[in-house]
Structures are given as structure tokens and as C-alpha cells.
Amino acid sequence: MLVILYKYAPSICTALIGLAIFILVPFQIDLSHMRGSNLSGVDARTLPYLLSFSIIFLSLLEIILINRKKTKESNANKKPQYLNMLRVCITFLSIVLWILLVPIIGFIISMIILLAFVMMVMGNRKILQLILVPVITSVLLNYIFTTFLGRTLPTGIFF
């Protein structure tokens, strides 16, 4: 059962996403303020409706067409490596945290912390590299953007 679910899961997910968007269209595209006749017969909702329907249709078609033999073979070879996927999740969460922290502690410090953390997640345990690479990258990027390209990067309570 789990194997079957694993095989069809991506297509089922895309079909459900398509369905969710299809349902969301009237709530997210408010045409009540539109006045006058619509000459084209196509309004702001038409394309989203068409596209979400296409996604549902194509996903169902994909489910029908899935080649059993191929997926059986690939499933036999593919074993989900949860620890590695956890590393991806941790990296994702650390970027979210970076977005939240950067207005408080500023670009340079937050980027140093983020880089060192991601390096550790990727298995780097060399202290010198863990210090030098984040510091050099953050300072250099900050310098290039602010000095050469005239862009301002977020500054926090320190700098």
C-alpha cells in the first residue's frame, strides 16, 4: 500500500494543489467591483481557472500513464534517506530564522551565523574554515553590494 502511495504521491499532490487553486479562484480574484461589459469574454479569473483545471487533468493523466515496471525498479533502488532530508529541513528553517533575525542583528552577523551553521550541517567540522569562510564571504558581499553596487543591506543593533 505504502509503495503504491509513494509511486502516485507526486501526481496526487499536484492534482490536489490544482483542485485547491481551482476552488480558491473566486475567493482570491474578486470581480464584484468590475463594471461594464467584458468585450473579450475572458476576465481575470479565466486563465487561473484554465490552468488549475489543466494541472488537475494532467496530474490525473500522469497517474494513468505511470509505467509500473519503471517505478517498481526505481522504488527498489530508492530508499528515502530521512537523515539527509532532515538536513534539508534544518537548512530551510535556518534560512527562515535568518529572515526573522536579520532586521535585529544585521546582515553581517546573521550571515556569518547562517553560513557557519549550514557548513556544519553539511559536515564541516574544521574550526578555521568555520570561522574564516563565513566571515570573509559576509564581509566581502556586504562590501561589494554597499560600496560598488550602491545597495543598502539590512543593519541591526550593531552594524
Partner: protein, 503 residues
């Protein structure tokens, strides 16, 4: 007129700052292309935010350098360690690595560089000659033709990207849906803004590119945690320099033919470098007097692969500049760059920005010549570069992604959008959905919808407008063919499979 533009371009491009910029672009492209896992598309996406502070010409020239050099540099690792730096260098590895094993690595590297430069220069000639002609034809296109053409571009891209055409189409449809986010330009109604003001301006093509190509790749590498195995490279055994201009002259027809294949394939949206190099390699093998040497260290195979590979660069920019339809995913980012710098790709670009566009074309040539010099230096340093551990390289790439996302909007929402697309791109990679159709659909989305609605306004809602104009009908027939044929073929295969399993 053309000569005036080119002379004007020369005066601009031979300034010291422009030459330095081109060298920088080429150097970045060489570095990114030579690192397995880092693609040219990723390189162009990462460098794009650095062009915001530059004027439009400098920005586009910098990206041209990254694009051309990045496309070539995939050959370096393909030859030295049998690991293609870019997907289009797969065929290069077939003959390049056996040559390395025979102790001819320096010859193979030099030949790959020469062939790439020749391919790039030939494609540059076609870029200059064909683009204005195509732009003139495109001027005659009305909204129905434009809709049919953009729709064709999208279906071709979806059809040829990845292994499953249906997944490609889903990816393109999702990209078009993402393109609808924001204020509808015709009615002024906000769409899918979920009450968040920043979404009224749309999701943004560049944060999406950074997410789909770069952040997704970082996540992918974090998951894989692969270490690059660098084999022992045999010392050069060739006493005399086997690769000379005489060898290139001897195979001038092969180089020309392969470059033309690259240009032709590149001009078709979505087909990409790998398709061109496979076709060129196959054709070279068919026409060769020594087909038995192919795969065992054939100079002809190496030349065919590399010249077609770089022939793509100019070819893919032809529809990008003239029609606003990108030939490859890297060209799609180019398109985004043009828009960011206030230029509208399409026939008007040649009418109103002629000086700039021909200067870019001329820059394309100079970049290829610079690549000839920097490429030979890079090939000597390539092995040292490969020793950079992934645990340093990818966190640094991530830093570039984050700062790129921030630089576009000047707010943290850009980083959020990049991260959102990074997650989507990662999930797509894991499940075999190609990201290229999504990016190209995101770029073409507004044009598709606008031309559709304009056409229907013209016809008072009558869809027959698309079937009564010859050019539009021609494109629609092509759309139907490219969409239906693979689906019917898949259905037949599925039926046959069921029959076989029953028996």
C-alpha cells in the same frame, strides 16, 4: 546602419572598464561551469543581482561572459575527471576522458576550448545576421500570432524538458499560474495576493530563478552530501603538440556543421545544449572516416560536441532578443535581466535600442575571444578548484542566493520568495518535474495572457480569430502536434505494456 551600430559598439566595448567586466564575467563563468553541480543557469541567476548597480549594457555584457564561458567550462571536468560540469558536456566526456587516460589531457582541453570558441563565434555571426531579420518578421505579428507563438514556445519547452512531457506541461502550467499572481494589468484586479501587499506586484522572475535553480540545487547537494572523486590524471605523453590550427582547418566542415546544429537547436525554445551536442556527436560519427574511434578518444567527437555546445549560446539568444521567447533556461534569465534593466525584448528592441543591442552582439564576439585566453589558464587550475569541498562551496552559493533575493526587491520578501521557489524546485527535482518550463512560463505568462485577451477583445470574444490567420494557424497546428504526439505515444506504450503483462 548595421556598420554604424557596430562601430559605435566597438568604441564602447574597448574601454578598459568594459574589458575588465567581460574578463570578470568569463572568469566567473569558467569557475561555475567547471564545478560539477553548478550549472550555467545557476551562474547567470547568481550574477544577475550584481548587475543592478550597473547600466544595462554593462550588466548584459557581464551576463554574456558568464553564459558563454560557463557553457564551455563544463568540458574541463568532463575531460579531466569524466564528470561533466554541465549536462551538455556529457558527449565531451565520452571522448575527452579517454584522451586524458591516453595522456593527452592538455591536447583535449585545448581542442575543446578552440572548438567552443569557434562554435561561439559562428553562433555570434548568426545572432547578428538572423536577429534583425526575425525581428522584422515579428513586427508583423498581431496579438493572435503572438499568443500562438508564445503558447508554442511553452509547449515545446514543456515537451522537451525532462523525461516526462506531462510533468513538463504541469511545470509550465504551474509557472503560468505563478505569473498570474499580482494585479491583473487589464482589469486592475488583484489575484492570489492573500491579503499581502507585496504580492500585488507579482512574485518576480529573478527570485523565482534563484530559488528554482540555485537554492534547490543547494538543498539537493545538502541531501546528497556527495564528495567529488578526483582520479589520478596521467601525465601528458604527447611529445609534440597534436592540436594545432592545422587540425582545426582539416576539420573545418565538421566544426561548421556542428556549430550550425548548435545554432539551429538553440534557436528552438527549450531544446537545450545537451540535445544539440547529442545530435552533433551522432552526425559527426556518421560522417567520420574513423567512426570506430568515437568513444575511445576521438578528436572529431570532442570537436563536434564542444562546437555545437557553444553554438547554442548565440542560437538561444536569437528568439530571446527578437521574440522575447527564450531558447534555454539561461536565456530565460537573460530575458529577465533585459526586463529588469528596462528593456522590452522583441522587435521593438531593434527599433528603439539598436545601438545597445548591437553592442551586446559585438560583446558576444569579444567575450568568446577573451574566453580563448582565460580558458587556457582555467584548464590548468581546474583540478585545484575541484578540491574546494562542497561544505564550503554550497554555503557560499547559498549566501549569494540570499543576497540576490534581497537585492532585487530591497526587502526581505525577495529572500522569502526565493526560498519558497527553492523548496518548490527541490521537490520538483526529487520527483522528476523539470524546473525550466516553470521559469520560462513565469516569464512568458504575462505576454501569453495579454495577447490572448487582446486577441479576444479584437474578435469580441470569438476564438476563431486564432484559426483564421495563417501564421496563427501554423503555430497552433505545431502546438497540437508537439502536445498530442507524445501523449498518444505514451498511451500506446501503456496499452502495450498492459498487454505484455497479461500475456
Amino acid at each position: 546602419m548595421l556598420l554604424d551600430y557596430l562601430l559605435h559598439g566597438m568604441t564602447q566595448l574597448f574601454a578598459l572598464d568594459m574589458l575588465l567586466l567581460m574578463c570578470t564575467g568569463v572568469a566567473i563563468g569558467l569557475f561555475i561551469g567547471a564545478m560539477p553541480g553548478l550549472t550555467v543557469t545557476l551562474g547567470v541567476a547568481l550574477v544577475l543581482p550584481f548587475t543592478f548597480g550597473l547600466d544595462s549594457l554593462s550588466g548584459i555584457i557581464l551576463l554574456t561572459g558568464v553564459y558563454c564561458a560557463g557553457t564551455y567550462a563544463g568540458a574541463i571536468t568532463a575531460i579531466l575527471i569524466n564528470t561533466p560540469g554541465t549536462p551538455s558536456s556529457v558527449t565531451t566526456a565520452w571522448d575527452g576522458y579517454p584522451l586524458t587516460n591516453q595522456g593527452k589531457a592538455p591536447d583535449a582541453l585545448r581542442l575543446a576550448l578552440y572548438a567552443s570558441v569557434i562554435g561561439g563565434l559562428i553562433s555570434g555571426v548568426f545572432l547578428i545576421l538572423l536577429s534583425p531579420q526575425l525581428a522584422k518578421i515579428a513586427l508583423k505579428f498581431g496579438p493572435p500570432e503572438m499568443f500562438a507563438l508564445t503558447f508554442l514556445g511553452l509547449t515545446v519547452i514543456a515537451r522537451v524538458s525532462g523525461s516526462s512531457p506531462i510533468k513538463g506541461l504541469i511545470s509550465a502550467a504551474a509557472g503560468l499560474l505563478f505569473a498570474t499572481v499580482g494585479i491583473d494589468l487589464i482589469s486592475g484586479v488583484p489575484r492570489f495576493s492573500f491579503g499581502m501587499n507585496f504580492l500585488n506586484a507579482g512574485l518576480g522572475v529573478i527570485p523565482a530563478c534563484i530559488g528554482l535553480f540555485a537554492i534547490a540545487e543547494v538543498f539537493h547537494q545538502i541531501e546528497k552530501r556527495n564528495k567529488i572523486f578526483i582520479p589520478e590524471i596521467p601525465e601528458s605523453s604527447s611529445k609534440i603538440n597534436e592540436v594545432s590550427w592545422r587540425l582545426l582547418l582539416k576539420h573545418k566542415m565538421l566544426l561548421m556543421k556542428s556549430s550550425l546544429i548548435g545554432v539551429g537547436v538553440g534557436a528552438i525554445p527549450g531544446t537545450g545544449g545537451s540535445v544539440a551536442s547529442f545530435i552533433a556527436y551522432d552526425e559527426a560519427k556518421r560522417a567520420s572516416k574513423n567512426p570506430e574511434l568515437f568513444g575511445k578518444g576521438s578528436y572529431e567527437g570532442l570537436m563536434a560536441s564542444e562546437s555545437s555546445n557553444n553554438g547554442i549560446t548565440g542560437g538561444s539568444l536569437i528568439p530571446t532578443f527578437t521574440l522575447g521567447i527564450p531558447g534555454t533556461s539561461s536565456a530565460a534569465i537573460f530575458l529577465g535581466a533585459l526586463m529588469i534593466h528596462g528593456l522590452t525584448p522583441g522587435p521593438d528592441l531593434f527599433r528603439f535600442q539598436g545601438e545597445l543591442i548591437y553592442t551586446v552582439f559585438l560583446g558576444f564576439f569579444i567575450v568568446n575571444i577573451i574566453m580563448l585566453f582565460l580558458g587556457s589558464i582555467a584548464s590548468k587550475w581546474a583540478i585545484s578548484l575541484l578540491k574546494i569541498p562542497n561544505s564550503i562551496l554550497y554555503p557560499v552559493v547559498l549566501a549569494f542566493c540570499i543576497i540576490g533575493g534581497y537585492a532585487i526587491t530591497g526587502t526581505l520578501t525577495g529572500v522569502g520568495v526565493s526560498l519558497f521557489f527553492g523548496v518548490i524546485g527541490y521537490l520538483m527535482l526529487k520527483n522528476g518535474y523539470p524546473p525550466a518550463p516553470m521559469v520560462i512560463a513565469l516569464i512568458l505568462g504575462p505576454k501569453v495572457e495579454e495577447s490572448l485577451r487582446q486577441s479576444l477583445i479584437l474578435s469580441s470574444g470569438d476564438f476563431s480569430i486564432f484559426f483564421t490567420r495563417p501564421i496563427s494557424v501554423f503555430f497552433i497546428i505545431l502546438v497540437a502536434l508537439t502536445t498530442l504526439i507524445p501523449i498518444i505515444r505514451n498511451l500506446k506504450l501503456s496499452k502495450n505494456f498492459k498487454k505484455n503483462t497479461k500475456n
